[in-house]
């Protein structure tokens, strides 16, 4: 799988009033880009536009993959809410995409992915019997099952407690390596830890921020990572 770069260039309007932009951002192929910004600035909207999901925003501009092929069918999506269907067990949720496309799910692969995210013993459990962290792991397995070169993450770790969040960040970084990932987050520590590239989105536009020197995923006590986290927080507060 070659993961293409994705470019978003244009501006967004709601009923003729500007919401964001003009902006021109590139998500480099095969790497993690963290889009950091305060709530309501439109970062989730940018992610939804790339995923071709309804937004209520008119986008004037282009969203394209660098290889010139359409994005449709090449984008995976994970939201803050796990979106597990409560009437299916973990395996059923992981196999959902295939069933929705009228394909036969690859049961062996699904089982391997459930095992890989640490839910092997929970494979036949319904989501409501799982903890928040386990549910997000199931959602990650479902995303991996789709095997898309471009993966959009809309604050998927933000509802987890600190320990679970750190563990999930590591699992996701490891399992999604080599894909073009956009992680939308409002947490400077998360961006400093995970991003090959970090973009700060404010009402006036998108500013690239210098990532720490170490490659991701970075230890949270690395001085460079902590310094980056502080710089990002300063940028965010100045923008607010």
């Amino acid at each position: 799988m070659t993961a293409p770069a994705v470019r978003v260039a244009g501006r967004g309007e709601v009923d003729g009033a500007p919401l964001f932009g003009p902006l021109d951002i590139v998500l480099p192929g095969g790497q993690w880009t963290c889009l950091l910004g305060p709530s309501g600035v439109g970062k989730s909207t940018v992610l939804r536009l790339i995923a071709d999901l309804p937004t209520g925003v008119s986008f004037l501009g282009t969203i394209s993959a660098e290889d010139g092929m359409p994005l449709k069918g090449r984008v995976g999506y994970m939201a803050q809410s796990d979106l597990l269907l409560p009437w299916l067990d973990v395996t059923g949720n992981v196999e959902l995409g295939a069933r929705l496309r009228h394909e036969r799910p690859d049961a062996a692969r699904a089982a391997a992915l459930v095992e890989r995210v640490g839910l092997g013993p929970r494979a036949r459990r319904r989501p409501r019997t799982l903890s928040g962290g386990e549910r997000q792991r199931a959602a990650l397995a479902r995303t991996l099952m789709e095997d898309r070169p471009i993966v959009l993450l809309d604050e998927p770790f933000s509802a987890l407690d600190a320990g679970n969040r750190a563990a999930m960040q590591e699992t996701a970084a490891e399992l999604l390596a080599g894909r073009t990932v956009l992680l939308v987050t409002h947490d400077p520590a998360e961006a400093a830890r995970l991003g090959h590239h970090i973009l700060v989105m404010t009402a006036s536009g998108v500013i690239p921020a210098e990532p720490p020197a170490l490659p991701p995923i970075r230890p949270f006590d690395d001085p460079g990572t902590l310094a980056c986290q502080a710089r990002l927080l300063t940028l965010l507060r100045r923008a607010a």
Binding site: A51, L53, Y77, L83, L85, P86, W87, L100, R101, E146
Partner: protein
């Protein structure tokens, strides 16, 4: 257990007030028989009442099953197509402006004195609550599920069957709870308008012959059946709801 005790206390209270009203006001049995007389009538006429109750129960159950099937199928059809919704909405609103009871005589004329006209009556009366509450659920699928399906490249039919329908089952359950209360009303009204069997028929017959104790006995059996039916549907509805949560 506590609930049962309270229910028993409420029953005793109602029976006591009933008997007090009869004794204190000196009402004759052909106006309002006391609970003892009604119990005696119930026991003496148990075969007659059971026979007629069986007919009414059959009508109600058939009406419930058919009405739920037709109502649910309509809701799914309307959920699948926006133009079908636009076309059907005025028809449904108009159909609700017709009191279903006003159709009872014509149904009896068309379908005769047998159970057919009563089943159709029950179907008509429960169709709307089932269809409208299920449709409501089908049209309010959580957006996140739909986003996910879209990213997964779902076929529209698959989204409907695998996501929208299961997510709407709790709404269908609320419709079923209403239907369980309405269906016996439909069947009994149908029997009043024209029937040769059934609890509604027996009540009219007893009333006409001033056998008020028999009428009350039939009424109590009808009420007991409705409560049991409601409890059964409630059990089923709770299962449907817990499954989708």
């Amino acid at each position: 257990m506590k609930r049962l005790l309270w229910a028993a206390a409420a029953t005793v209270l109602v029976l006591g007030l009933w008997q007090a009203l009869v004794s204190l006001a000196g009402l004759p049995p052909f106006i309002l028989p006391g609970p003892g007389r009604v119990a005696t009538a119930l026991w003496k006429n148990r075969v007659l009442i059971a026979d007629n109750a069986g007919v009414t129960i059959l009508e109600v159950l058939l009406g419930l099953v058919l009405g739920t099937l037709v109502g649910a199928a309509t809701a799914i059809g309307l959920a699948a197509s926006a133009s079908a919704r636009a076309l059907m909405r005025p028809i449904l609103v108009f159909s609700q402006a017709i009191p279903v009871f006003a159709l009872a005589p014509i149904l009896t004329l068309w379908l005769g004195y047998g159970i057919g006209s009563k089943v159709v009556m029950a179907v008509l009366i429960i169709f709307f609550p089932v269809a409208s509450s299920f449709l409501d659920g089908l049209l309010t699928t959580p957006q996140g599920y739909l986003d996910l399906a879209r990213c997964m490249g779902a076929r529209p039919g698959a989204t409907l069957w695998r996501i929208r329908v299961p997510a709407a089952l709790p709404s269908l359950a609320s419709g079923l709870r209403l239907a369980a209360v309405y269906a016996p009303i439909g069947a009994v009204i149908g029997e009043w308008v024209g029937a040769s069997r059934g609890l509604g028929y027996l009540m009219l017959l007893a009333n006409g012959r001033a056998k008020i104790d028999l009428m009350f006995a039939s009424l109590i059996v009808l009420a007991a059946f409705t409560i049991i039916l409601h409890a059964l549907i409630d059990f089923l509805a709770t299962r449907l709801q817990s499954d989708a949560n």
